[in-house]
């Protein structure tokens, strides 16, 4: 058991930190206000190997693990959750290619993601199918030449800017098992029948792209199927077992960033003739925040390490994600409290962090879903 990052991981952490300080910090507030991100940022991050660090080397990736991916994302989120999310999202769903794709699919779709040339997304959620993923009704009907896709998805990252998406769709509606009715397809966004509308008005993570997507008679070749027909739900669950581990790092990064802001504030602000850092009430708050973050990070690193050892564990991954998200929400609340009224204005970074936090308990499995998974694992049969 080794609770210390190795030298290479520390160097990666530092490199990601420098990149975030140099490239994200100064533009973060404007990107949030204007709901935008600079496309060249993706390219820069890709060239440096910061995108999808888990993508194997033979497909243009850094060939590292989920732990390294999590370390990088924590550094990005620490500086700005919105841009951190955008930089994470561009390879979101690429795990499907890695785990289940054909050699042709891997060679075609992975290298442009790693280099930052292309962005992708994973289209799962539908207007009437959120946590209840297996009720997704976007259909992929088999034809002589492939499939025809119809339906809509919502709250999809990179829907308007992605070059391709992987889509969770109903291919076998008549199968007796609800878990064997879906398949996963890759959809190139320049295909006729694909339409996406950018969603505005998000509470947080406003720099990142989120869209509603409509498929109308979109024709897919047979080769668009990823993995096994009818096994989409299982493939999706395996994706979540991975993504939740590094989404936990989003929470750790956000919490750490928020606490860092609070520390800076309490060391600078004087009230009642003393720095507010000198009040024990402040010290206790910081101590609790720091401890919670350390716990969240440790569990996140454990979940990622298990994945990298080939021991995917849905329970630990769900715990890591649920706990990190809760930590983020609570720590940023305290961090803003320490800022006092200043924290309520958007020229203070903590305001942006505060708005960003909540989504961590909503996406990549609402916390209730994680509780269901954990409960099932702990209780077993009864």
């Amino acid at each position: 058991m080794d609770f210390e990052l190795n030298k290479k991981q520390k160097d990666i952490q530092k490199a990601a930190r420098e990149f975030a300080q140099g490239e994200l910090k100064d533009i973060a507030r404007d990107c949030d206000l204007n709901e935008t991100f600079p496309p060249e940022l993706i390219r820069k991050a890709g060239e440096l190997g910061f995108l999808g660090a888990f993508i194997p080397e033979q497909y243009g990736g850094a060939g590292l693990g989920f732990l390294e991916h999590a370390i990088i994302l924590e550094e990005f989120w620490k500086v700005d959750p919105g841009l951190g999310q955008q930089l994470c999202s561009t390879t979101f769903g690429s795990e499907e290619f890695i785990l289940f794709g054909t050699e042709e699919q891997k060679q075609k779709y992975l290298p442009p993601l790693a280099s930052g040339e292309a962005m992708m997304g994973f289209a799962i959620t539908e207007p009437d199918a959120g946590s209840d993923t297996s009720s997704a009704s976007t259909s992929a009907q088999e034809t002589e030449h492939g499939y025809i896709m119809n339906g809509s998805k919502t709250m999809i990252g990179n829907g308007t800017v992605g070059r391709y998406l992987v889509v969770f769709a109903l291919s076998d509606p008549d199968n007796e098992s609800r878990a064997q009715r879906h398949s996963i397809f890759v959809v190139e966004t320049d295909t006729p029948g694909y339409e996406a509308t950018r969603l505005h008005g998000k509470m947080g993570l406003r720099a990142s792209d989120t869209a509603s997507i409509f498929f109308s008679g979109l024709k897919l070749p047979k080769e668009a199927l990823i993995g096994t027909r009818g096994k989409g739900f299982y493939q999706l669950m395996q994706f979540f077992d991975r993504s939740r581990a590094y989404v936990a790092a989003h929470g750790v990064g956000l919490a750490q960033g928020a606490m860092d802001l609070a520390i800076k504030h309490v060391k600078g602000r004087v009230q009642f003739g003393r720095k507010i850092a000198s009040f024990q009430a402040t010290q206790f708050k910081i101590a609790e925040m720091a401890t919670r973050i350390e716990l969240a990070r440790t569990l996140t690193h454990k979940a990622c390490s298990l994945l990298d050892k080939g021991k995917s564990d849905s329970k630990v991954t769900s715990m890591a994600k649920m706990n990190a998200a809760r930590t983020a929400v609570e720590v940023v609340d305290e961090a803003l409290q320490l800022h006092g009224g200043y924290g309520y204005f958007n020229d203070q970074d903590v305001e942006r962090f505060y708005r960003a936090a909540k989504v961590l308990e909503l996406y990549e499995g609402a916390k209730e879903i994680e509780k269901i998974i954990i409960g099932r694992h702990v209780l077993g049969r009864y």
Partner: protein, 323 residues
């Protein structure tokens, strides 16, 4: 015992201010030490020295050679280390200038004398010399002593650390040394001076400078400051980080490595106030500093301070001007 040697710098046949500052301090120290003050001038022709210059030293050693029309390290180091070895001064002083930074450490190695660089003050403890210098970019001061100064010591002095004394009343014996023929071949050759300050605007002539620092954050937002400067009828200048990042050309830069300016009003937006920058605004009439960080060192030297985001302030200023 107690003798002081000062290396005098000149550029483009003009004596440098820093050398006057150093020799003024040397005068004070030499008086306390009851030692002799020697100034060394290496020049093609030392006719640029002010008429009262010789009164600033007991002895003026002048070495005239074509190679000294500009800074020739090889020749300068050879001549000065020879003088040091011959005269064993108690203290050798020169500016912490780009040339002094080349010469000081080299002389220390050649003569074996200990060196303290970039000193902002020099004190005497009996006859022992101590220096005050800054660490961590001025966040900390250190008092430094030499472990073994029995054979003397070398100090490079930060420009602007000491005022220029009116006159010193020393006798100024002139000693000319003609040994240029023995000088070794130079390892480097002067080619030319380039005025990087020559640009489309001249910040040294502006009455109002709207100056930006690292706090501006990104190149794209400089346009907003240009608009503000336009409304105010001022000129945009900046601190070093803005030039280092390529956001503005060098001729906008205020500070030791940029221009010294003398506007009626200097509006510093998002400038932290490193000493190199502050040195460039000594001639400004009124300094108004705007910075988010209320502990920014610029507030120590400004006349008026505003703790505010520079863009929030700039927007408010534009709005008021529009009324």
């Amino acid at each position: 015992m107690g003798d002081i040697l000062v290396f005098v710098e000149h550029r483009s046949v003009s004596l440098r201010e820093v050398s006057l500052q150093i020799i003024s301090k040397a005068d004070e120290l030499a008086t306390k030490l009851a030692g002799r003050l020697t100034a060394v001038v290496l020049a093609a022709k030392a006719d640029f020295l002010p008429s009262d210059f010789s009164s600033r030293a007991d002895r003026l050693i002048v070495v005239e050679d074509e190679r000294f029309s500009d800074f020739d390290f090889t020749a300068a180091a050879e001549v000065i280390s020879k003088i040091i070895k011959e005269q064993s001064p108690h203290l050798v002083m020169m500016g912490h200038t780009p040339w002094g930074m080349d010469l000081g450490p080299a002389l220390s190695v050649r003569t074996g004398l200990p060196l303290s660089t970039d000193c902002v003050d020099i004190t005497l403890d009996g006859t022992r010399v101590k220096t005050v210098r800054q660490l961590y970019g001025g966040k900390l001061f250190a008092r430094v002593s030499f472990r073994d100064d029995s054979k003397g010591c070398i100090i490079t002095v930060r420009p602007g650390s000491f005022p220029v004394a009116a006159s010193c009343g020393r006798k100024g014996e002139l000693v000319r040394i003609e040994n240029a023929a023995n000088l070794p071949a130079s390892s480097s050759r002067f080619i030319e001076y380039l005025d990087t300050g020559a640009g489309e605007i001249d910040i040294t002539q502006a009455e109002l400078l709207v100056s930006i620092g690292r706090g501006v954050g990104e190149k794209e937002r400089i346009e907003e400051i240009r608009e503000l400067a336009g409304l105010l009828g001022g000129v945009v200048s900046c601190s070093r980080p803005v030039v280092d990042r390529g956001w503005l050309p060098k001729y906008h830069q205020v500070g030791t490595s940029g221009k010294s300016v003398k506007p009626k009003v200097y509006l510093a937006l998002g400038i932290s106030g490193a000493f190199q920058h502050v040195a460039g605004i000594a001639g400004a009439g009124t300094v108004i500093a705007v910075n988010k960080d209320k502990k920014a060192p610029i507030f120590r030297v400004a006349d008026y301070g505003v703790v505010e985001d520079l863009f929030a302030f700039s927007d408010a200023l534009k709005e008021e001007l529009g009324k």
